[in-house]
Amino acid sequence: MLKVQNLTKLFEKNRAVSGATFDVARGELICLLGPSGCGKSTLLRMIAGLALPDAGRIDIDGKDVTEAQANRRPTAMVFQSHALWNHMTVAQNVAFGLRVQGLPKPEIAEKVAAALTLVGLDGFARRRPAELSGGQAQRVALARCLVVEPKVLLMDEPFSALDAHLRANLREELKALQRRLRLTTIFVTHDQEEAMELADRIVVMHAGRIEQIGRPGDLYLEPQTLTVARFIGQMNEATVTLKAGRADWLGQPVALPAPDGPVTLLCRPEDLQRDRAGIDVRVTRVIDLGPMIRVTVATDEGAALTWVCGREGQPQTGAPLTLRPSRLLAYRDGQRLGTAAPVANRIMAERV
């Protein structure tokens, strides 16, 4: 449906986006995820035609639109804020795209009413944008795009100006609507929770480059680069030296079939378990998150680790523990090297 190849945009030698390549299938929702300033908006604006790429190619539905102006592309975009026209009513805002297409008035009225129903704003047709809440304004902006039936719907952090509760509700509604209408959508966000919840696939960006493309679960379990591993979810990280396929991670011997050299090993908080054969630590902080407990611990050498556990067996601050990592992701030069497995530690070996 949408095909982006090697797309690059420079702002005075500063590479805002470089070599972005990905596909979006019909009816798929793709999230562009990355920290602020990594080039998400620039990439989206190139797809919309609001910025022209310095290199690369964009195809929509098999047609090359790389050079086409924004008003000649079958895309429609929802912006973060302030994009409604204040001098028009809600209905006039939504009708705009149809009037541009020259549709007859009765047909416009019908489609506008249908679009407003779709986004749950029946009876708001004659309001002005100034009389809407932030969430309602974004619904109107969405209706304004949906009504022209774009081949690709683009959304640039549409909910990030709203409060968390409303954001969660709108997210769910959007996902339901997108599924029902089988909308091909690209959704930009810097919020990984939002991306995880919405996306069929996530495109993780960093410093203008695409780091990894994958389904939310795959990104979490198998991050292919160190950047992705650090960006998505929480990690306990330490760089150690690998020698003859063995290394020592904060006192825990691990095995990794790889050439000797430095390697960064990361462990998710939930991949630490209480185990008598493990790393000796002391609890420094206990944070009650409700469904689970987040515990910060310190090793004898002073390294801090984060561990999450259930409500039962909740430790006290200052208590000694032994924790054992069950799964460690290994990276060298920023790229995935494999998965390191813990091996029996020295004390155990002595006992045996």
Partner: protein
Amino acid sequence: MTSDANPAGRSGAVRTMHLKENLAGLALVAAPLGLLLVLILLPTVSMVWNTFQVPVEGGTVTGIARYQAFFADSYSVANLRYTLIWTLISCVTALAISLGISLYLRFSEGRIATMIHALSLFPLFVPAIIISYALVRFLGPNGLLQLLLEQVGITGYRTPYLTPIGPFIGFVWENIPLPVLVITAGLSQVSDHAIEAARDLGAGAWRILFEILLPQVHRSLLIAFALIFLGVIGAYTVPYLLGPPAPEMMGVFMQRTLGNLQRPDEAQVQAVILMVLSSIVGGFYIATMLRGEVGRK
């Protein structure tokens, strides 16, 4: 019932407080208002009253004979028509140019744009008389423009000096800054995203101009129009220095009637007619302002 009485009593107290505040406010404006009344309104009323006093043998009667005389005099009517037409042409031209400059400034940034912005406000700091003399030296016979044209071989330059075009150029020059200020302020209310959203939905440049940008500044345009109109219709210096000897703008005509011809009665009639025209536009200005106020509520 008792529960109702309490809020009612409180709202009564609130009303009294509002009244007190209003009274204090009135006291504050009383002095300037009084001055306005004594120094402007009273002389105006007395002058207007005076124009309806027609001298007859042995005294005066109230009537409109003086106005009939004005409208019966073809030269006076020609002056009035000339004033109105060129005031309108000057206003529309100044607004159109200002709109162009403001649109350019809205979509450009950098040094050149800043310079153009500063340049467009420059006439604000130059008195009309200096502008007029500068234009005479530039556009007048054997002025700079004519010399430059002759340098490149263009002869037969006909100076706009002492034709209606002369004051027209002066008025336009004088009246660029104000509309540029109000229109740029209006245009800056339209976010980049609002414009991009229109483009994204298929709108071309003209549609964006007429349906997105202009509606957001049309009130600014109306207000700027009224202010320029009021300034130009009663102008004296520019048409006196640059305009033709006849027909005359009303300001010049009035001054000549009063000063050279020593006919204060006729000058008063001219003044009242000018005042009526101005108050029509002034009323329209106030109506626009009020509509904005109500619209905001």
